[in-house]
Amino acid sequence: MKFAYRDRDTFLHCADARAKLAALVAVSLALTWASALATVAVGGAAYAAARSADVRGREILHDVRLVLLILVVGTAARALSDPDGVAAGTAAGAVASGRFVVIIALAYVVSATTRTGDVRLAVEFFLAPVPRVNEKDWGTMFAAAARFFPLVFEESKRVQEARKARLGDKQGWYTRIRSTAFTLLTRSFRRADTLALAMESRGYDSDRSSLRSLEWRRGDTALVAVSVVIAAFAVAF
């Protein structure tokens, strides 16, 4: 499933959620300043990470194809309106899009390898020292978002299949997108509603205990160290 956890036994699956989130944040921030070359290099590293976690590059591209389309359109618009000329505009747009794609790919890998329950524990851990912030509520919110995201993807697949089954794919693209988007929106809201109801029916309480616990191992320190090196490299070049 899209952007959803899948049970495997790879290094990244076993890694501590705190290490993965820290790595994701460090590399994503660094990418904001990265040059074209550095972006490509970090993209390569992201691909290697995905493969090591049993996630195929093709899957990521397929699942984020809508985002890719938007980025291409955005780059084209930018190229045509850039005061420095089309070439410069295209280059700038491509680099910005590239960074974004790499960040999304990394987030994809993190969500494929991390249980939402662990996301909750990690967020709680990071926010616990921050005064006047209820870390339990924030942990819950992040976990719920991580949980909800794949549900929207699943709904979107269902809407498309339901339309196809009645030859909806023979309609023009504008009608298709407009009606699919509307159905998807209402269904996603309803899905969020039932998810909340399901949690409530089993006595949901943000002040709850947890079956799982986070365990920091040497590999996690290594993961963070490597990410910091990559981040530093991305900023420096």
Binding site: Y5, D7, G117, S201, D205, S209, S210
Partner: protein, 237 residues
């Protein structure tokens, strides 16, 4: 023990429950019968405190649900008509752990409850699986385990056999009967009493948000219930 007194509940302007009075004694096996739209789901949601009465009262162990809905959620375990929408986690184990986590139990105790509940429904082999990859019968049993792990006094099951084949039906009915024999009160909402009728101690028929029949299965089915959209079980024809 649950007591429902003159319960009225409406969605927007339509009355779904119109003055329902009923009592559920400890250890009973009660069928809640009625056609589509008769108010079964709305009624069950009141037992679990998911919905609160517009008028009238629902008492769980003498505590009104509108004063303490948490008590109702702990004591009354509810499963949904649509089993898939009850799933809140990405593995069966995490999903069954959800209720005990909300109870704030220690890690060892959560693990014990998960193992025990999985065993009770024959889902021990499924613990590492994704709930979305299960067969209909397996998913039903897993959702049942999700509430059993909270050790409720009452099970409120909404159409627990919907969409199951014969084998799936039998495996689910067996588990429900086992729990009832251990002393758990069971309330099953269904439009077809046949699979349960030999175990039921009582049946309540809803029609248009009102109780129209309330008695032992023998009393009920020797009369006629088809006018209320309920099929007479074979044994009574």
């Amino acid at each position: 023990m649950i007591r429902v007194e003159s319960l009225v509940y409406g969605y927007e302007d339509e009355r779904a429950l119109d003055g329902v009075t009923a009592e559920f004694k400890e250890g009973g096996f009660v069928l809640l019968l009625g056609g589509n739209g008769s108010g079964k789901t709305t009624f069950l949601r009141h037992l679990n405190g998911l919905l609160l009465p517009d008028e009238g009262n629902v008492y769980v162990d003498g505590v009104p649900t509108d004063e303490d809905d948490e008590h109702a959620r702990r004591r009354v375990g509810m499963t949904f008509q649509d089993a898939a929408s009850q799933v809140v986690a990405e593995t069966v184990e995490d999903d069954i752990a959800f209720g005990p986590e909300n109870l704030g139990l220690e890690r060892d105790e959560i693990q014990r409850r998960v193992d025990e509940a999985a065993e009770a429904v024959g889902a021990t082999e499924l613990l590492d699986r994704s709930p979305y990859e299960l067969s209909g019968g397996e998913l039903r049993r897993v959702t049942l385990a999700g509430v059993l792990a909270m050790r409720p006094d009452v099970l409120a099951l909404d159409e627990p056999l919907a969409g199951l084949d014969y084998d799936g039906e039998r495996s689910v009915v067996e588990r429900i009967v086992e729990e009832n024999e251990k002393g758990t009160t069971v309330v099953v909402a269904t439009h077809d009493a046949t699979p349960f009728v030999e175990y039921a101690t009582r049946a309540v028929v809803l029609d248009d948000g009102r109780v129209v029949e309330d008695g032992t299965p023998d009393e009920l089915f020797s009369g006629g219930v088809e006018e209320y959209g309920v099929r007479t079980p074979w044994a009574y024809r």
